[in-house]
Symmetry: C2
Subunit: 253 residues, 2 copies
């Protein structure tokens, strides 16, 4: 998808070469002069494209030395973090889901606070059990504001990602705030996830917003910590990237 401007097309082309492996990890990129020759643009445009890739963390290097392809492209943080299905597939496993409840009711105080509503205002609640290779991994409680949540009745939530379904209907979620902590499993959650009551669960609470900054979803996801963890890689100056990872099996609780 060439995004109009020349430097964007050039950046896309180079990204493509890196993704396809035409430019291997650790390998130096063609020199700027070479790229100028190949793409028929000016050096300024080439440098603008390279600057984009540098900001994305795809390449690194210093003065006098050709930039090299970075070790780990570390994926698309946003989509990966937002979508359970996308994460599981990226991990090489098979995602699944079972919708336990899809209901319209009054908002509970916590969700109402996060969504900027009054408690009791009508919202759409979704309770889904998420599976990884047919085993329960996560219990997802989502609360959507009414107009967005009503769209959920239009498609099958068991089919796949809710976010993908909403996106197809024009609802674009572009920002979210996540809080991660740990809780003891209540009786109901323990039964659904197949763990003992009181066992530690990894909890991620989420407020998701659309382009205009309006919060449209409040989520409370509870993971079996032996099946899912969160991983963060950070480097000084260069920004953070966060992805969920599947811990090695056989790890003791």
């Amino acid at each position: 998808m060439p995004s109009g401007s020349l430097h964007a097309k050039l950046a896309d082309a180079l990204r493509e070469r890196i993704a396809s492996g035409a430019l291997a990890v650790g390998e130096p990129l063609p020199s700027e002069a070479r790229l100028v020759e190949e793409f028929g643009t000016s050096r300024g445009t080439v440098r603008q494209a390279l600057s984009t890739l540098r900001n994305e963390g795809l390449i690194e290097g210093g003065q006098g030395r050709r930039p090299v392809v970075r070790r780990r492209p570390m994926g698309q943080p946003f989509e990966t973090f937002l979508s359970f299905s996308a994460w599981v597939e990226l991990s090489g496993h098979r995602p699944g889901q079972h919708t336990i409840e899809l209901a319209r009711r009054g908002a509970d105080p916590v969700a109402a606070g996060a969504l900027g509503l009054e408690p009791g205002e009508p919202v759409i609640d979704v309770l889904r059990l998420r599976l990884l290779d047919d085993e329960p991994v996560m219990l997802e409680r989502s609360t959507f504001v009414l107009d967005i949540g009503l769209l959920l009745f239009d498609f099958d939530p068991d089919a796949g990602s809710i976010y993908a379904g909403l996106l197809a209907r024009g609802v674009e979620i572009v920002a979210a705030t996540h809080t991660i902590d740990a809780i003891a499993a209540p009786t109901d959650d323990a039964r659904l996830l197949g763990v003992a009551k009181g066992a530690p669960l990894l909890r991620e609470r989420r407020t998701a917003r659309t382009t205009d900054g309006r919060p449209v979803e409040y989520g409370d996801d509870r993971y079996r910590p032996d099946r899912a963890t969160f991983t963060i890689a950070n480097e000084r100056a260069h920004h953070l990237a966060l992805v969920r990872t599947v811990p090695e099996t056989g790890e003791a609780l």
Copy 2:
């Protein structure tokens, strides 16, 4: 600290104005033409400085519209995430620590694996109880490679940040990988942290590296989830920022 190049100095100057409040949040920056006039540079240089600030997330804006100062500068993610002391102080609380053990012994298999050593190779183990307003919040188990760890005997670990002490001795930790999950508190940990045995703890395991990529520390931090959580804010395209936050008091476990 003007970093030599003109565009870096210009970026520093603008950062300074934002930090000092001379450019308030939400306020538009001077136009590029205005900055050219004021600093006596070319427009390309001005644009390069603005590009830097944009990448740092300090400003945002689109074509035809003057860029505006962003809502939250969102701090220094790396230092904040690395240093317990810095985080607590930033949260407006009083940090404290009590070193329980500082020992030289053979590396256990997990730490050895993370540090690229053979199990049993000599390492330096540190066990510290971290306090927030005099109450225990986190139990920190760190394993340092021998040459780095020996430096710890030179200064008082109870005085403050180990990272600050190491930095003063020329050990610069610039990258780390963090894994977050939840575990049930073992008997010893429960006693030290003042929670019931089996209570859920938020665990962060960490491998920290120096400039050359060599892993020098493996850490296992266990938090009381009612006193510390992890928060992530992400926006599409724009990268992630992560900070630890103190949850509101009185929140039920």
